[in-house]
Symmetry: C2
Subunit: 475 residues, 2 copies
Amino acid sequence: MAGLRKQVFLGTFVSSKNRQELQYLHGAAVCVDGDGRIAKVDEGCGSAELVQDRLLSKLGWERSEVDVHVAKPGQFFFPGFIDSHVHAPQYPNVGIFGKSTLMDWLETYTFPLESSLSDLAKARRVYTACVRRTLAHGTTTAAYFATIDVAATNLLADLCLSLGQRAFVGRVCMDNQDMCPDYYRDESAEVGLEKTLQTIQHVREIDPGFELVSPILTPRFGPSCTSKSLRGLAKIQRETDLPVQTHVSENEGEIALVAQLFPESSSYAGMFDDHGLLTPQTILAHAVHLSEAEAQLIAARGSKVSHCPCSNSSLTSGAARVRWMWDQDITVGLGTDMGGGYSPSILEAARQAALVSRHVAMGIDGADPERERSKLTVEEVLYLGTRGGAAVVGLESRVGGFEEGMEWDTQLIALGSVDDEGVATDGDGEGSDGGNVDVFGWESWEERIVKWVFNGDDRNTKKVWVKGRLVHSRG
Amino acid sequence: MAGLRKQVFLGTFVSSKNRQELQYLHGAAVCVDGDGRIAKVDEGCGSAELVQDRLLSKLGWERSEVDVHVAKPGQFFFPGFIDSHVHAPQYPNVGIFGKSTLMDWLETYTFPLESSLSDLAKARRVYTACVRRTLAHGTTTAAYFATIDVAATNLLADLCLSLGQRAFVGRVCMDNQDMCPDYYRDESAEVGLEKTLQTIQHVREIDPGFELVSPILTPRFGPSCTSKSLRGLAKIQRETDLPVQTHVSENEGEIALVAQLFPESSSYAGMFDDHGLLTPQTILAHAVHLSEAEAQLIAARGSKVSHCPCSNSSLTSGAARVRWMWDQDITVGLGTDMGGGYSPSILEAARQAALVSRHVAMGIDGADPERERSKLTVEEVLYLGTRGGAAVVGLESRVGGFEEGMEWDTQLIALGSVDDEGVATDGDGEGSDGGNVDVFGWESWEERIVKWVFNGDDRNTKKVWVKGRLVHSRG
């Protein structure tokens, strides 16, 4: 990628200090170098006048080679969101699930659409819309399931690179001929593995260091893969050290099917472990119905979980227990899981994670302190959508916060405000639609963040940068 | 109100035929007279050229006195939403609930804010923002709880009338001095009843026939009222035939409190019945934890329920069983319940009603057919937000559909579309932000509606009319 101009961002920076707390830096400066890396964070440099003396001279940067961006009062910089589980080809089907549950939903809605994307013009249209839409919602990193098709999968990788979204792009492996429809499956384990290698090779060509786009090994889920292809993927994983993504324990019928297909394995997660796929770089989507032993196995292997509340509620899959997974030392992030999930937004996923945690609580007796504990706070769901997700996709040292050495994957947020007459105005004073968050002026910063989480949408995400590059901007 | 010009609307009209089905009228015309009433529906008159011969000549309307509005292809007219339970003074607190449940939420967040609205400048600001915001989301009718303050309650009624929202405006009665804070309660039952009469008198003066704005008797909830004030309100109800709104069985702690405060009553709903307040014009918000006997009592009295899924999940109140209430012959509508609910949108309430019904299903054994039955379809949640809500507020013969004789309370909906390059464009071609619903072009009308329900927002609501008057329009 071409080098960027150096940049200094001034204003309020909000990010997760840890799971329980947000950190608010007001009147601060973040300096971003030409590689999109944070070179310096200065908590006391809030105005453009101070930039030269406090920052540039120390960094040895010339003023002429630096762009200075000043957030307006009330606006804040927030780390870009990480969508740790999303099916790009299903984007046109968001919301379309009827009364189905996982297995019939796949057959009725999902496989026909995915299959149709071997038409590359259609794939380009769908993938462009998906990447642009998720960028507009502040998703700076996405872990994508593509389809079984090599050319369309490669196209998705190309589009992520050109549109500037950090992405993991996986060709979907599904070779179990008893479980996958004839019109949409790998011809054999061998053919599937060969196709997977082709997509890895393609990404190596377009982004040799996997700086922005990385391949990811993607056995669809237990029922779709033979032991042969699972073992083959594990071998590729050991040889390449690439990440892996799949689904686990989403739905009770699915779990029963896995037990039937892999009778020698002790559990669904155990089945992946038996095939060598439960690695520290493995992302397991859903994990709704894990047993205690399964959770311990996942934690022992260091595999990660992508929690997809919108999808789990929509498909009646169940209510995943995030607090309980944290208690088992499992790393958790958020996924939109489009099209099982209806929304392209990780902010919506965060909101639904808070609500679903309350449904988890409702299932626990009022006298049991776990009822109260199981509820997730706004701080916790924002952590899930940023640092949690970064750890799930193995990027926790590079994205998710504003520390020096991290990369500038950031969104600029502006909330709307209500004037003295009760008329809503765009918080940035530019006259565009300020969205549904109405700030009256007396709210604390903490309350503004809460209002954003519950009523915010893409209208509040004014600008999005990935690795220093501006990749989305609202007029 | 001043007479309006006559209007003819041409295009696609979507509305609930019944709970199970939507009706789609394509290429149809709806004629609205100067009182905002639907004078004629013509299913075969889809173009402006036909208007003169097919409609105006039969109605005896001159072309010069008629405005013709033609919806663009893909747009559709949909009945305005009915918010059957919303607290206008809590609007600034939407989303702010922390980990609280009902009783501590009231004390920490709600009573202080409500009390502060005796400052009429603040009340005007908050109420204007609330009415404008809900109108922008297509809410053409709202059943509002105001505060205990007469002047601020009257101001809310004034604002609904001037901004053009159909509304029920209730001064909140709360006189139990053991349960309500000293700084925010009626001095006595007598004073509270007298203040209630003052607000009724005010609405009579500004809208003598209660054509657009009606008073509504509003005992806050069981714990807040003495028997004396409940009986007094029942007496006013019998004398005036006004509607009643309150809360029932929202939270388990609240239910226990009611049992303790009213030991002679058999249940929470029974307590209202014992005081003469369970009438066919009574709106009961929440009804999460009803017993079978309570549900039968409510059905026998013909009282109605406002289901508030956003609020019930946020405050960990529980998951109300809409299918079960329908099975008991209870009429149900939707409420945003701002600020217990975080969203001003009945479309969001409909979406959450669908999701919460799936959480109800998750609590039912998979072998029990009730699990499947308890899930609400998109058709059903849209019914709840329109005809269901209309029946809850007693307006089912006047709003909620497009039948002749009904009033024109309608929203014009436009969805976004994705061009051949995958770029999202505003569906109305006017360049404004088309929102998050991306139509690719191959979707059936049913699928477009589903996409709207799951990803739509106020950006899709281009125009809103109440009683024929245009009350909201997006640039």
